[in-house]
Symmetry: C2
Subunit: 712 residues, 2 copies
């Protein structure tokens, strides 16, 4: 008997080993599972998790949303522990109970009133002598979010036997914005083609859409705009509405509403009307009928996102009307259905002075003139998704208008998907920025009712073009749910779910991620510099470009470097953009000495010998920052090398290859910028400075045809 | 002890079950593994395979190619049986021995002379009393092909204990042609973006490239042209050569050479020369230097594929020179390095009579004028990758010139990746077509030294846009290796490796695949009709289009239907295209009664009341064929439904959804064509004919913006 048992044990081990060795689906660890990997935990942790999730108790019949929650818990626990919990009618010891006010055990006090429609609570307690865990929420959507939260807790080492968590989103609307075109190209996309296979929809519904929904629901994202803000009118035709409806059907159980970008001229383009004038009765009737048609196809349609009178898009100003007239037109059509309009404030026209001032100038005076279901969507900064920008002056400046914060998850100006830049600190910086507006002291996060992120998702196996770019999708969602989370904590839990739970490696990788955003600021645009990137594609340094058609497309427009100094004077002696901020900020930003050094050249034109906090001249400090950026990437490479033993070989090698590119390109950025700014300043390099590797002319001669992200 | 053993057994079963339940990488059976799935065989088959593959014996040190072979055998056997074979120094019982003439066991007679550089033999034999299997070849590449052949045998139920196979490719060059652009769009691509991530290459080398190499090597594909024949000159610049070299490094161990499409005007575009005249010494020097540069980067570079003076591409005729002058220019540059030129014969200029005649007219007179390392690449038919075309008249007509057969794997004119059309029968039909040329009776397959297939590969998880489209990649490779294989046998082995080994299901699916090509001919272009597809995108029926700029872009040009009848008169009373064929064929094709009915309207313009073999009039037969096509798709759906129990749910549901689309579109094709041809013939529908669902005007009004495949 013993021999038989040993034989069985050996065969079992061999089989398990063989299964473990088997490369599932042809490759190991390709990143497709993002942070929902659910790979087996270390043995002790497996036992701890299994002890709390031996069975699942939930209401019957389960709604599709509750079914999704239960399926995710089964999948997660099975993956983490090797055991799949069974569904039970009655709680046994170690049960996970998904409860609402209608199904919660009697006598258990839960803060239902605080949870609202989306919040959840996780509670360990003893019920009739049995230790159980409650996942509690007022709605099935809350239970879904709570289930993901429990799985996150299980993977990040929380004490599952003593849970007492509660979370409710601070911001009602948390949306991805896809800049995906109907031909499946993606504007500013660096991860392959669009995941939306418009051609095959609605008949073919890719399994990937479900995994997209799971990943977003795990973060609490509750809306997605499927198509590019540079919109084609065809997206509103019946065939495309049927396609969008098929996507909506997949996303609905996961609590995600579908939105569409609308082209303002659609009544002309599609309806054959002679005008799209928002005050024209036929135009109003057209939009009303279109909204009715949309809601027949998608009963829970979120609404429209609109880019109007910006970068060539049509809009109400074509008819002498205002943005409010345009937005209210669409709002009127959507309102009977409960839909909303997100109207973008990213506008700029040629030769109107300081481009950074235009959004505020056009929108702030309209405060109070928007319909109640209009939200004005404002980018985090006033220029365009730079590595660092001061917060946009519109935040806090339109008290009568709901605002949305638009962040860019895809790294248009931050090295595409090739540079490892964790955006959590960037998001945190703007969310926590104190506008000093009424009510005094309100942060940007407290001023907005919606947060939108321009997605970085594509058909690449790892979704976002690189493993670490998935952390930016993750951080966007987590911080949109709760801006009080720290970017560092979010990085830590992402690492634990995505790569490893080994404490040393988690520490190292969290540190690596935390410094990566300062690195890119330093090697691209330190000290408040901005928009020095290559024309059109925004890849690589091009601070010398000064010959583009529009003044405000040229890097020289933004840095204004010359013999006399460098920087954009936005004080009262210059464009006076500072006056768009609250008085306290306006005063502070008017003087270099009270301006944060990280924003210095955004607001001030200063001589090269301006003395910095470090004691260095501005010239020496600029070069020191570029050097620091390059050095930081070297440090990131060393940190990544140090965790090699804790990461699977495939992903370790892949990330190492990306970091090698980033190191080379950080050096390129540093060298090209140093060479250029020296040619302008005419100053010698500070003693000990490494001269640029190549001549300025060589850097200027580089061309990047076929750079990605210009689709459409 | 017994309890303990039972407990262990139970736990083992639970664990194995849990592992089996676990959706690896987020989804089950997404098709990524194509025909290299290696999922566990039924228990009895597992034992039979494992008995013959307990260990692997091979030469040490192993070349990268031999390492690839060994790795594939380990992976395959582990997947099929749950046991990974160990590498052994000496053969034990059940060993798989990879041997060359240098390492073969003494005393074993093997047909080395017949195997050549690529062939292999599989032999079961007894060696010193031990039953072993030899995989024998003269080269490591032959061993790689033999290893894949052994794995194929293992999955298709061959008696592995009594193997006696031998195979040598009949055609030396077996290439994929990617019509992939440098911006990652794919012309006529229906499977997402290009797998070649040019932007990230050469630094980032996607793991997918290795899987691409494995799949191709399993078929014997030994070359790949990475970029579109509508080529950008930039593909020949140093940065892109470095990228191509990185791909070549991945493909090299798998016996696959990299080729590039070359733009004929590159000396002007890149070199700054005033001309690209092939007789200009500076142009010759430019190409020579460029070839030298390429071979420094890619020492085993295959050569150039060129589309010249066709559809707007530059070419030698721009300078009054011939295709031979142009091809020889490039051949001269490549020749010192052993490279070759594939020069495409797909040419057509506006308004030169019968478009089908132009390739022959331009190329046949040049026979004997091409350099020895030029291969003229000829599409299977004279028009353009239609559902059915007569074989191209150039086959057999250029005895002094090596020819390549160009097939299209991507289904530009056959329903994109949405219609299930197994192309094996189409490939077989042209390969076996008897040209009646010198030497008398030679088939197309016997006339060619190369076979190229326009790839259908993209970033979609299942590679080719649909599960069944992978069968077309598979069939291309298998038939290119050995044109004597039957398309049906190839379908059978593909099903066994891809879906199931259950005999009934294999029979049903093989039958389904076998009829699928006749179905698409019937519902799109029966009886020799051709090029009735929608303008530009080639999606859907548009036989009415007659207003395009060039006559030979219009469907009406090809079908010539009117009150008097239908069809293109290519006999001596018409364009006399038949004269381009061998005299025997020319005579036969000149008379309707001796023309195969499947080609009838390709060669003849006939009255609607022409009597067909069926006894029906041509008008009634045309409608009967359209009806048969629609009915065949219904039958395919029933066949697919019948195998449901034998197919995993995810792929079964996906294919069923595709078939539903195909059924709807087959009906659309049938109805639109019947409606149109009736409007032209003015004849009543035969009794019992189902009238079209919609009006002709409704079909004409359909528009397909954003149809895929028009990238570039």
């Amino acid at each position: 008997m013993k021999n038989w048992a040993q034989g069985l044990r050996a065969r079992c081990a061999a089989l398990c080993l063989a299964l473990a060795l088997l490369p599932a689906h042809g490759t190991t660890e390709d990143g497709y599972d993002v942070w929902l990997r659910y790979r087996p935990l270390p043995a002790a942790a497996q036992a701890r998790v299994w002890a709390q999730a031996r069975s699942l108790v939930h209401a019957e019949p389960a709604s599709p949303t509750l079914q999704a929650a239960v399926a995710e818990l089964k999948r997660g626990v099975a993956g983490l522990t090797g055991h799949e919990p069974k569904v039970a009618r009655q709680p046994t010891a170690g049960a996970l109970m998904l409860v609402t006010p209608a199904t919660a055990p009697a006598g258990v006090a839960l803060p239902w009133g605080e949870l609202g429609a989306e919040g959840y609570a996780l509670r360990s307690l003893t019920l009739q002598g049995r230790a159980v865990t409650l996942i509690a929420a007022c709605t099935d959507r809350g239970l879904l979010y709570g289930s993901f939260a429990w799985l996150r807790a299980a993977q990040t080492g929380a004490d599952l036997a003593a849970l007492n968590q509660q979370s409710t989103p601070k911001v009602a609307l948390r949306l991805l914005n896809h800049w995906d075109n109907l031909d499946r190209t993606v504007e500013r996309g660096y991860a392959g083609a669009s995941i939306w296979d418009w051609w095959k929809l609605p008949d073919l519904v890719d399994a990937r859409y479900t995994d997209y929904a799971r990943a977003n629901a795990s973060l609490g994202v509750n809306g997605t705009v499927l198509n590019n803000v540079n919109a084609k009118a065809e997206s509103l035709t019946a065939p495309f509405l049927a396609k969008a409806a098929a996507v909506a059907n997949v996303l609905r159980p996961y609590g995600i509403k579908v939105w569409l970008s609308a082209r303002f001229s659609a009544p002309k383009d599609l309806g054959g009307l002679p005008t799209a004038d928002p005050l024209d009765p036929a135009v109003r009737a057209w939009w009303k009928a279109k909204a009715d048609e949309i809601y027949r196809a998608i009963p829970d349609f979120g609404g429209f996102l609109v880019k109007a009178n910006s970068e060539g898009q049509p809009g109400p100003q074509d008819y002498g009307r205002t943005h409010a007239d345009g937005a209210n037109l669409l709002a009127e059509a959507l309102r009977p259905h409960g839909g909303q309009v997100m109207w973008r404030a990213f506008v700029y026209a040629p030769d109107t002075g300081d481009r950074a001032m235009q959004g505020y100038a056009e929108f702030q005076p309209l405060d109070g003139r928007f319909a109640p279901n209009v939200i004005v969507q404002v980018k985090n900064g006033a220029v365009d998704f730079q590595p660092r920008e001061p917060f946009h002056p519109l935040f806090g400046a339109m008290p009568k208008t709901p605002l949305a914060l638009e962040l860019q998850i895809t790294k248009e100006y931050l090295g595409f998907s090739t540079h490892l830049v964790y955006l959590g600190p960037l998001f945190e910086e703007v969310l926590r920025a104190d506008t000093r507006r009424q009510p005094q002291g309100a942060t940007v996060a407290q001023q907005v009712t919606a947060i939108a992120g321009v997605a970085n998702i594509g058909t690449d196996r790892s979704w976002c073009g690189s493993q670490f770019d998935c952390a930016n999708w993750y951080a966007f969602g987590r911080l949109a749910w709760d801006a009080d989370l720290s970017a560092e904590a979010v990085a830590r839990e992402w690492v634990q779910q995505t790569f490893t739970t080994a404490p040393g490696a988690v520490r190292t990788l969290t540190a690596l991620m935390a410094t990566s955003r300062e690195a890119v600021v330093d090697y691209m645009t330190p000290l408040g510099l901005h928009h020095l990137m290559g024309t059109g594609h925004h890849h690589g340094p091009a601070p010398w470009v000064n010959d583009l058609e529009r003044a405000d497309w040229n890097p020289t427009y933004f840095h204004r470097a010359g013999r006399d100094g460098i920087g954009f004077d936005r004080t009262p002696t210059g464009s006076n953009a500072v006056a768009q901020y609250a008085p306290e900020w306006a005063a502070r930003l008017s003087r270099p000495e009270s301006t944060p050094e990280d924003w210095l050249l955004w607001f001030h034109h200063l001589p090269w010998d301006h003395r910095m906090a470090s004691g260095r001249t501005l010239w020496a400090e600029l070069i020191a920052r570029y050097d620091r950026g390059e050095a930081r990437v070297a440090e990131m490479r060393a940190q990544w090398a140090a965790v090699r033993a804790d990461i699977d070989p495939a992903r370790h090698a892949e990330v190492a290859a990306y970091l090698a590119v980033q190191a080379a390109e950080a050096r390129w950025w540093r060298d090209a910028c140093v060479a250029y700014f020296q040619s302008v300043s005419g100053l010698p390099l500070p003693a000990g400075t490494r001269p640029p590797e190549r001549t300025l002319q060589a850097y200027k001669a580089l061309r990047f045809n076929f750079a990605p992200g210009r689709g459409g």
